[in-house]
Amino acid sequence: MAKPAFETPRIPDFPEIPVIVEGAMAHSRPFVAAPDHQEALGFPGELVDDWHDTAIAKMGEMLGKYRGLRVFLDSCVKCGACTDKCHYFLGTSDPKNMPVARQDLLRKVYRRHFTLAGRLFPKLVGAADLTEEVLEDWYRYFHQCSQCRRCSVFCPYGIDTAEVSMAGREILASIGLGQKYSNEIIGKVHKIGNNLGLPQPALADTLEGLEEDVEDDTGVSVRFPLDEAGAEVLLVTPSADFFAEPHVDGLIGYGKVFHQAGIRWTLSTKASEAANFGLFIGSYENMRKVARRIREAALELGVKRIVFGECGHAWRVAYSFLHTLAGPFDFLDPRYPVPQHIIEVTHDLIRRDALTLDRSANDERRITFHDSCNVARASRMGDTPGGQFTLPREVLRAVCNHFFDMAPDTTGESTFCCGGGGGLLTDDLVELRVKGALPRMQAFKEVVERNQVTHIAAICAICKSQFAKVLPYYGFEMDQILSVHQLVGDAIVLGGND
């Protein structure tokens, strides 16, 4: 646990586009997955002998399956609009972290093998062979993209770098070069049911402890049920909500909302994880397998609704892909969205005046909201466009008196990633995470100085853990990050419901 050997970037007075430093992050490389972590996911244990041909064949297979990938690789005109939009470029100065350069790592090999000009005149069209050096660049720089898709908002062609880095990672895993962090975790979901590897008895013990804590704090018996057949709602939430802070305070908030609304709910051992890291590694098969647990759990428990807790990419997978991956969900109550976000549940209850809220309970806090990338740019909430931005803010304004937004070019659709998304929330990438947090930390610092903001609230487990880790590097405290439902839970007036 040596102290990190890098310098935390200085927060400039105004956002700055850095002078490029070639190779500044060429040393950043996450641990490679061990053979047993690879094989559990259906990938070869280690780098295969004919990795070159296998990789090209895999690329060909993916180009046939994913039309978007070919369009993204064909359509870049090198206009440069994306170059200063990536938080990792802004924080590291490494030109290979410009989105166009990241795409080009794959694009040059695509051109060499899958375009006529690239086959005949490679040098003229920027085509290149997949050498060991290029393969190494793939491993390093496809793991310096958090798949946040901010660049694609500014690309006039809508090229989605996340799709490119997912494709790159899928090729890498399929030749034996998977990433340890993501693949070990996916294996635990398949085997035990959640990212942590938290078995049922530990989960039950943890939830029982929470019931005691809430009763000690409030005098009200709020339940945190597990595997209760016949409940109305199955709550699928990131396992960090059971384990870590400030996540667990959000889970307490969900429990209080359900309690006060009189909704019978349950957690599930089988689906004790909202996260789906299959997305990060671009593996449709693994994503599907992880998603199907949720359907199975919902059927076994006989629930009528599925609600997702505060997890950014889980909501992307749920909102955008759940029906395709694990549908049909015709056994659920059609009067509610399938699936539904906990923010939508709470928002609806607030709108119907079904919760008694005391905003002054949060008066010591001055809050800003971090839009998590996968919620902001890959999903929606409610029934109007932009609901993923307005609903969480309306909930926050209903539970606290002091709310302030960060600068508009860092929120909503233009939100900056926390710096730890997309399977990069691992200690072996801490330098990248700290540097990639720079744009968000700059925007936070601005509202701290302008509006005396004390806390940043989020609805994503990765964002919460990432901020708890990186805030101290920038002179803040680790506990300045909160769960949105912690603020909800603290404002709810319990009682009158027994």
């Binding site: 635990k188 943890t206 802070e245 996260a275």
Partner: protein, 110 residues
């Protein structure tokens, strides 16, 4: 990778966590703490011992709340919080203390 303890080389992963839980002995924690320039006090040992006994029962490290509550009961309420645990283990109680206790590193969004 390996860790030299009492003349033996113990197998560890890339980040220095023991590969085999059964290799653990109190000197493992001492050697790891020395490398981090951390003096193990009785209070550090309370955390390590609790982690080990919880792991033995549940095959997983305890959640932060479970740990803070248990430490609060043993060492007094003022110490039953994360702030105190971070004073003991500045790299994070879940990770640094688990490592000293010979437990695998907690994975996931934590």
């Amino acid at each position: 990778m390996g860790l030299q303890v009492n003349g033996k080389t113990l197998d560890t992963d890339e980040e220095g966590y023991l590969s085999n839980l059964s290799d653990w002995e109190p000197e493992v924690a001492q050697v790891m703490a020395e490398a981090d320039e951390c003096d193990l006090t009785e209070n550090h040992w309370e955390v390590i011992n609790f982690l080990r006994s919880y792991y033995e029962e549940y095959q997983i490290a305890p959640a932060v709340r479970v740990l803070t509550k248990a430490i609060g009961k043993k060492l007094g309420k003022d110490k039953g919080n994360s702030r105190y645990l971070y004073q003991l283990y500045p790299y994070g109680p879940a990770k640094q203390a688990c490592k000293y206790a010979g437990l695998p590193k907690p994975t996931g969004c934590v």
